[in-house]
Symmetry: D2
Amino acid sequence: MTDILKLQERLREFAQLRDWEQFHSPKNLSMALIVEAGELAEHFQWLTQDESFNLADEKRLAVDEELADIFVYLVRLADQLDIDLSEAVERKIALNEVKYPADMVRGSAKKYNEY
Amino acid sequence: MTDILKLQERLREFAQLRDWEQFHSPKNLSMALIVEAGELAEHFQWLTQDESFNLADEKRLAVDEELADIFVYLVRLADQLDIDLSEAVERKIALNEVKYPADMVRGSAKKYNEY
Amino acid sequence: MTDILKLQERLREFAQLRDWEQFHSPKNLSMALIVEAGELAEHFQWLTQDESFNLADEKRLAVDEELADIFVYLVRLADQLDIDLSEAVERKIALNEVKYPADMVRGSAKKYNEY
Amino acid sequence: MTDILKLQERLREFAQLRDWEQFHSPKNLSMALIVEAGELAEHFQWLTQDESFNLADEKRLAVDEELADIFVYLVRLADQLDIDLSEAVERKIALNEVKYPADMVRGSAKKYNEY
C-alpha cells in the first residue's frame, strides 16, 4: 500500500506549511484521534443497530467526514512515530488468522460474547 | 488508493468466514474503534509530549498494534457504510486547504490554541 | 452533596502521599478519564441493548470497577480545576429542564433520533 | 454518600418524564459517556500540561459543563445496572491502597511511567 505513504507525505507537508508540527506530538495526536472517534460515535449512540446501517443523507455526510478525520490523525501518528501502517495492518491480520482460525470460531461467536 | 479497497475486501472476507458480520453494525464498529483509540491513548496518558516521541521498544510494539486495530475498524466501518475512505480523505484535505490557508494561519497557530 | 467534597479530599491526599500530583494535570486526567470510559465501553461493544442490561457476574464486577475509575478521575479533574461538581450538575439539570420541557419532547424522542 | 442516590433518583425521573428511558440501555449510556469524555478531551488536546491548568473563562465554563454531562451519564449507568456508585468507589480506593502502598511507590512514579 504505497498510497498510504503518499498520503502520509501530503499530510506532513500540510502540517509543516502551517507550522503545526509543533502540536503534533504522538500524545496530542492520540488525543485528537480519540476526540474524532467520539464525534463518530456520537452519530450512532442512540440508534439501534439496524438504524445505524441506514443513515439519513446529512448524517451520512457527517460520518464520512469523521472517518476522514480519524484516518488523517491515524496517518499523522504513524508518521510521527515512524510506524509503517501497511506493515502494521499486515502483521495484525496474520496474527488474527492464527488467533481466530475460521473453523474453530465460526458460528459460535464466542470471541465476541464472552471473555 | 485502490489498495485500501483491497484491504477492505480482505477484512470483509475475514469477518464473513467467521460469521462475524452479524456483530459488525456501524454502531458496534464505532464503539470498537473508540475502544481501540482508548487503548492507544492509554500508552501516552502519563507521558510528556517529548517522551511520547521516544517509546520503549515494548511500548512501541504495542502502539503499532493499536494503530493497526484502529485502521482495521476504520476500514470495516467504511465498508459497512459503503463509504470510500480514499475519497473521503481527499474531500477532507481539499476542505482543510480552503479552511486553513497556509499564509493566514502559519505561526499564529490560532486554530489550535483558541476557539 | 458535601460527600463529593470529602471524596475529593481523600483522593487528593491519596495522590499527594504517592507524589502523583505531578502527573495529574487536567490534560492528563482528561486522557485517563477517556481511557477508562473506553474500558467501560469495551464490555458493551458487541452486546445487544437487551444483553447490556443482564451482565454475567464477572463482567458486572468489571463494569463496577470501571465506573469507579471514571468517578475517581472525574473528581480528581474537578479538584485540579477547582470546579464544584455538585454545582456543575445542578446547573446542567436546570439547563436541561429549560432545553427539553417534558411536555414538548415526550414520546417524540426527536432529541435522540434526529439532529 | 446518600446524595448520589438522590441525584440518581432525580435523573431517573427526568428521563422517565420524557419517555427517554427506552434509549438508556447500558450499552447506549456507555457510548454517551465516552462521547462526552471526548468533548472534554477536545478542550485539552492541543494544550501543554501547564496551559491545561489555566483555562480561559469561556473554556472553563465549557469544561464545567462537560464534567456535569459525564457525571450525569455515570449516575444513569449506575442506576440502570443497579450498581451503587459510592460503594464501588470505596471498594476501588481500598483496592488501590493495597496495590500502591505509599511507601513503595512514592517518588519513583513507576506505576505511571513504565508498564
